[in-house]
């Protein structure tokens, strides 16, 4: 469904991604692992059109995404939950959600809100509260809900467990598992390799802007290099 083919992209004079190719099929959860600065966030930004594709192509279904603006990419059915959550602190929870479905007709927005409030009851309770007053875990739920708001076929998640307490990380991953049931495909960027390999179907390992390894989650869990680099510690 998503095909990133030999993509080069970066910032200013620097290429961060060097001929990266990844793919993802309908209904899959695919994890992207890599050290700090490997280019994981850059990969997601490139897919969503936040930064330009310099070489290669990004296609979604039969649609070429090269050159589309983030707004247009969202309309194609891809949403992006950014690293660090980026909740609007002074907007209410509901405003945060509505903005994530900016170009959706009102009636449909209403349906989505209802569905998400049913799914995340805590957000329903806090709907009139400013985003900045939520706890870290609640903000992550809001970020996930924002990602679901446009009813995407594919969600790009950038380190959803970052900076959360272990117990809340569990909740986040449970939520992701539930999402899989509902048919949303997920491209998951994580530092938490153990958990993401447990959840994912397949995974890629990114090293300095290139795909160093790819395979099924089970294969990679057994891989020596992955074990050493990412599964060795307590992470």
């Amino acid at each position: 469904m998503l095909r990133v083919d030999q993509v080069v992209s970066g910032y200013g004079p620097i290429d961060v991604l060097n001929h990266v190719s990844i793919s993802l099929e309908q209904g899959e959860i695919v994890a992207v692992l890599g050290a700090n600065g490997a280019g994981k966030t850059t990969l997601l930004r490139t897919i969503t059109g936040l930064i330009r594709v310099r070489k290669g192509s990004v296609t979604f279904g039969d649609k070429v995404l090269n050159g589309l603006s983030p707004a247009e990419v969202v309309k194609c059915g891809i949403s992006h939950v950014p690293e660090g959550r980026h909740i609007f602190p002074d907007l209410t929870v509901e405003e945060n959600l509505l903005l994530a479905a900016y170009s959706m007709p009102r009636s449909q927005q209403k349906n989505r809100l209802d569905a998400l409030y049913a799914m995340f009851s805590i957000l329903a309770e806090r709907r009139r509260q400013a985003g900045g007053t939520l706890s870290g875990g609640e903000q992550q739920m809001l970020a996930l809900a924002r990602g679901l708001m446009p009813n995407p076929r594919l969600m790009l998640l950038d380190e959803p467990s970052l900076g959360l307490a272990p117990k809340i990380i569990g909740t986040v991953f449970d939520t992701l598992a539930r999402l899989r049931e509902s048919g949303v495909s997920i491209l998951l960027v994580e530092q938490n390799a153990k958990r993401s390999l447990e959840l994912a179907d397949r995974a890629y390992v990114l090293v300095t802007g290139q795909v160093a390894l790819e395979g099924t989650a089970r294969d990679l869990t057994g891989n020596e290099m992955v074990k050493q680099l990412y599964l060795g510690g307590t992470r």
Partner: protein
């Protein structure tokens, strides 16, 4: 100072303050969303006022139509400025953006002086007639119009910001521009919209207040300085702060000018420096909102 005089000074101060508020609200709107401090706000209004002047005096277009055309002209100027100037330099430093709008302000002044000459012209007021007496307070009719216009503009801006999705988008951009883009909010069109609204307000403000002065290329200069001080006092964070800041400055300035005429011009300026130093968040700003 008797109560009557105090009341008169205060109410008239409010009408002057309404002027600062009108200009300041436009500046804050643009500043908050697009991160550009528009030093050309006053002078784009001045330029539009010249266009309006010739429509009224030469082409004999009815005043109400001119008012609408002036607002539209402001919007068009805002669109052009955003699309062809600001968009390509958005990522530059604040200093570059300030310089760009200073250049724009000079351009408007030059165009006005070059095309229309610099001698002051008398601009007919929108409403004429004897001043109105309300109890002990005497108010010019145009002053009342200005006050009403400020209130109505504030109301419209409030509705825009808090009741439309474009307004919510504008507020979201001011809090976290990156997040807004990630979520797929079409930020370029919001920038254009905000510039259009902000500049339209410049046209409206200048047109309403020019009858108090005379029309010349520099007539918005001092008003813009006062509008800036109003913004600072209001905390730069909100349209509401700019409106209240403008009113406060109008009133205080009027009272000070009556009691201590010698320091009337410097007083507010000194106050502003003190405000900046001891409470940079102003009356209504939040510390978190400082983006400079």
């Amino acid at each position: 100072m008797s109560v009557d005089i105090f009341l008169n000074l205060t109410i008239r101060g409010l009408t002057t303050g309404a002027v600062y508020a009108l200009v300041g609200m436009g500046i804050v709107l643009i500043l908050q969303t697009t991160n550009v401090m528009n030093f050309a706000q006053g002078d784009s209004g001045m330029f539009i006022t010249y266009l309006a002047f010739f429509m009224i005096t030469t082409a004999k277009v009815p005043y109400s139509l001119v008012l609408i055309l002036a607002i539209l002209a402001g919007a068009v100027i805002g669109l052009i400025v955003e699309r062809f100037m600001m968009r390509s330099v958005r990522s530059r430093s604040h200093l570059s953006l300030i310089m760009l709008t200073l250049g724009l302000s000079l351009l408007f002044q030059g165009l006005a002086a070059f095309l229309f000459k610099t001698e002051p012209r008398l601009f007919p007021p929108l409403v004429s007639g004897d001043p109105i007496k309300i109890g002990p307070v005497v108010l010019g009719r145009q002053d009342i119009v200005v006050l009403l216009a400020a209130i109505v503009t504030f109301g419209i801006l409030y509705l825009f910001l808090y009741r439309t999705k474009q307004g919510a988008a504008a507020r979201s951009i001011s809090q976290d521009e990156y997040a807004a883009r990630v979520l797929g909010i079409p930020t370029p069109s919001i920038y254009m919209l905000v510039w259009a609204i902000g500049s339209a307000m410049a046209g409206l403000a200048a047109l309403l207040i020019v009858p108090r002065f005379s029309l010349e290329p520099s007539f918005m200069g001092l008003i813009q300085v006062k509008a800036f001080t109003a913004i600072v006092l209001g905390g730069m964070g909100s349209v509401f702060g700019a409106a209240v800041g403008g009113l406060i400055i109008g009133v205080v300035e009027n009272l000070v000018a009556y009691q201590f005429p010698a320091i009337k011009d410097s007083f507010m300026l000194i106050v502003i420096v003190i405000v900046l130093l001891v409470m940079p968040q102003g009356l209504f700003g939040k510390r978190s909102q400082r983006r400079f």
